[in-house]
Amino acid sequence: MKVYLKILSFLTPLIALAISFGLTTFILILIDRDPVETFTLMFDYGTTGKSIISILNRSIPLYISAVAVAVGFKMGMFNIGVEGQYILGALIAAQVGAVLILPRPLHVLTIFIVAAVVSGIWAGISGYLKVKKGVHEVISTIMLNYIGAGIVAYLLANIFFEKDEDNSLKVPQTNYLSESGQLPPLNNILGLEELPNLNSFIVGAVFVGIFYYWLVWKTSLGFDLRATGLNPVAAKFSGADPNKLIVLAMLISGGIAGLVGMSNLVGYFHRYTIDFPTGLGFAGITVALLGRNHPVGMALGALLISFLERSSQILDLNNIPKEIERIMQGIVILVVVVSYEVVRRYILTQEVKLASRMVDKDE
C-alpha cells in the first residue's frame, strides 16, 4: 500500500469524528441549545481526573465485550449472546469464588477461569447447534441470552441468595468474595491516592487485547478464522474444517465474554448482585463495529463511548437534555461505519489502479 493511503486510513476515524461533531452541532442548533457551550461543558467535565478514572473503568468491560464479539466477526459469525454469556459466567464465578478459600493469585485466577469456562460453554452451545442442527447463531445466541438471564434470576433467588442477619429475608445476591478473591485498585501503585479507584482489571483488558491480536493475526488458527470469515469456500478448499472452527470460535468468543464481568466482580462489587451491570454484551457489538474489530480501534471505541456517557452527565444540570448523548453515540457509530466503508472502497480502487498500471507499463 502506498504511504498516502496508509495515512488516509489512519486519518479516517478523525475525519469521521469531525463529521459527527458537525451533525451534532446541527441537532443542538435545532433544539435551540448552544453547541459551543454543550461541547465545552462535556469536554471540561469529561477530562477531570475523576471522570478519566470513571471512563477507564467503564471501558474495561466494554472493550473485553467488544473483543469477544470481534472474534466471532472475524470468522463471519455474529455472537449476539455475549450478554447472556457474561452474566451467567460472572454469577457462577462469583458463587464459586465466594465458597472457595485459596491464596490470592490462585483465588482470583480460579474465578477468571470459572467465568471463562462457563461463558465459553454457554456460547459453545450455539456453535454446536449451528454445526449439528444448522441453527443460525444469531437466533440461538439471542435465545440463550434470555435463557441465561432466566437461569441467573432463578439461581439468585433460589440457590445463591444471601440471608440477612436474622435469617429471615433472602437477598438475591451472592456472598462477598473473601479478600483473597478481590483485586485491589491500582491507585497505590500509580500514586493516585486522591482519585477514585482505578480498577486493576484494566491490565486484564490489555492482555485480552494482546491475546486477541496474537490469536487472530499471528497464529495458524487465526489464519483459518480470518480466511473462513472472508471466504468460507476457499477456506474449506484450503483444508480448514468449518465445523471445527465454528465451535472453536464460539468457545473462544464465549471464553473472552466470561471476562467481561470480572472487573466489576473482583474489583468493585466483590459479589454478584442485582445491581451487577447488564447490557455490556450489546454495547460490545457497538464498540466492535466502531473499532472495526481492530484491537487498538476497539480500545479507542470503548474509550470514546465511555467518554460520551460520562461527560454527558453534566448536561442535565445545565438544562441540556442528556439524551443528546444517545443521539451523538448513534451519529458517531453511523458516521464511522460509513466513513470506513467509503475509505475502504477508495483504497480498493486505488489498489486496482496501481495493479493495472503495472500491466500497462509492461506492454
Partner: protein, 503 residues
Amino acid sequence: MNTAISIENISKSFPGVLANDSVSFDITSGTIHAIVGENGAGKSTLMKILYGMQKPDNGILKINGDIAKFQSPKDAIASGIGMVHQHFMLADNLTVWENIVLGIDGSNLSKIKRSKYIPEISDLSKKYSLPIDVNLTIDDLGVGEKQRVEILKVLYRGANILILDEPTAVLVPQEVEELFENLKNLVSQGVTILFISHKLDEVMEIADRISVMRGGQHVGTVNKEEASKKILAEMMIGKDLPTPPNRETMISSENCLQLKDLNGEPSLGKIPFEDINLEIKKGEICGIAGVEGNGQRELSEAILGLYPVESGQIFLEDIEITKLSTRERRLTGISFIPEDRQSQGLVVESNLIENIILGKQSSNTYSSRFRNVLFKNASKNSKDVVENYDVKTPSVQTLALALSGGNQQKFVVGREIDGKPRFLLASQPTRGVDIGAQALIWDKLKDARDMGLGVLLISADLDELLGLSDKLYVIYEGKLVKQLEPKEATPEQLGSYMTGLGI
C-alpha cells in the same frame, strides 16, 4: 453494402482502467463480424456500450447511419440491437413461448394471448430455421436449444443486429456446429451478427470480418481471407503463439495417485460418479474431458476430501487417504488448482502474502512449532511466485482482488506447483484467462510434469486436454466412458463421447 454499426472514436474509462481507447471500426450489415481479444482487452465494455448498458465517455455510435445515444438497453433494443448473453436468462419452469414473450406481453391482468404468440413464434422459428417446439418447458431443453430460445427471444423483439457474447463457451462441438449453421442462416436473411470470442478456430470458421482488440484499443480489422490464426493471435497478444505441446515426457512407473472403484455418495437421487478407476504415474498428466456437470466437480472434491465417498479407495503414492480430512490430504502433498479461483482459490480481500499461505497454513513452511504463522516464509515465497510466474502486481502486499483474472490465476498456479507437491489436481486451470497467461500456465504444468509431478487435469478446453495430456479419459454421467490416445483423438471424436453418442 450498408454499414450496420459504425463505431467512431469510442472511449470509456473506469477508475484506473482505460477500457476503450478511441475505438473505431465499422460493421457491415448482413455479415458476421467477430471481435476477439484477450480477457480485459475491452470487448465486453464495447459490447455494453453498444447495448446501452454503459455510456461512452467520448465518441459516436451510429446505427444504420443514425447517431445513437442509448440511455439503457431499452433504447438499444428499440434500434434493433439484441444481446444473447453467455449465461442464459431464462425461466426454467416456463415454456419456450412464455419465455420469449416474458416482459413484453402487455396483457397485464387479462388472459395472455396464447393464440397470438404461439403461431407468431413458431413462424419466426421456421423463418430463421431455428427449430424448436415452443410448448416445451425450458427445463427439458439442452444447452444448445436454450441458446436458440435466447436468439429467438431477441429476434422476436425485432432485433436485426445480434450480439453474441462467447456463445460457444457452454456448447459441445456438435452444438457449436449447429449454432454456426443457424448463424449463417440468420445472416443470409439479412441479420447482422457480432460474435465475441477468444477462440480463434471458431472465429476463423464463422466470421466474415474480424476486429482484434488489445488493451482497450482496436488493433485492426481484417477480412477472413486475409487472416490466419497466427496473424490474429499475434495481433491479440502482440507476440508469437504459445509453443506447441512438448510430447517428450518421462513417465515413471511409480504410482502417484490411484483411484480404486470409487463411488460418490448419491445426492438428489443421482450418483455423481461411479466406478472410477484411475492410475496416475509420477511425471504423467492424465486428462479428463467432459461437459460440465458430469461428475467432474464431485470427483475432484472427493479427491480433496470434500465430497463423501460411498465406496472405493484413494491412494496417494502408497498411502491410503480415503479417510483423511482435507487438511491431512493437503499436508500429505495434494495440491489443487480450483476451477473458480475467486471463490475457491483465493481470499481476494487479503494480500498475496496471506494468499500464498492458503492451503498450506498448517504445513511446516508456514506454521511454527507453536502454531504461529511464519509470515517471513510467506513473504519470500510470494515474491518468488510473483517473479517466476510473471504475476503482474505492484507488490506482494497488494490485495488479490486488485489483480486481473489472468494474474490471479498465475499466482494460484504458482502457489500450487511450488513447494514440491506430490500430486496436483488441476480443474479448468486456464478457464477465462488470456492467451498469455494460458501459455505460461501450460508451460508451467508441463515443466512440473517433466520434473516428475503427477497431474490430474480436468478441463472443458479440448486444446488444453489434447495438448497437455499423456493419457485422456472422457467422463459422461459420472463414468469414465472412454480412454483415448491424446495424439490421435480429434475434437469431433471427443465431442461424441462427451455427449454420450459414442457409447
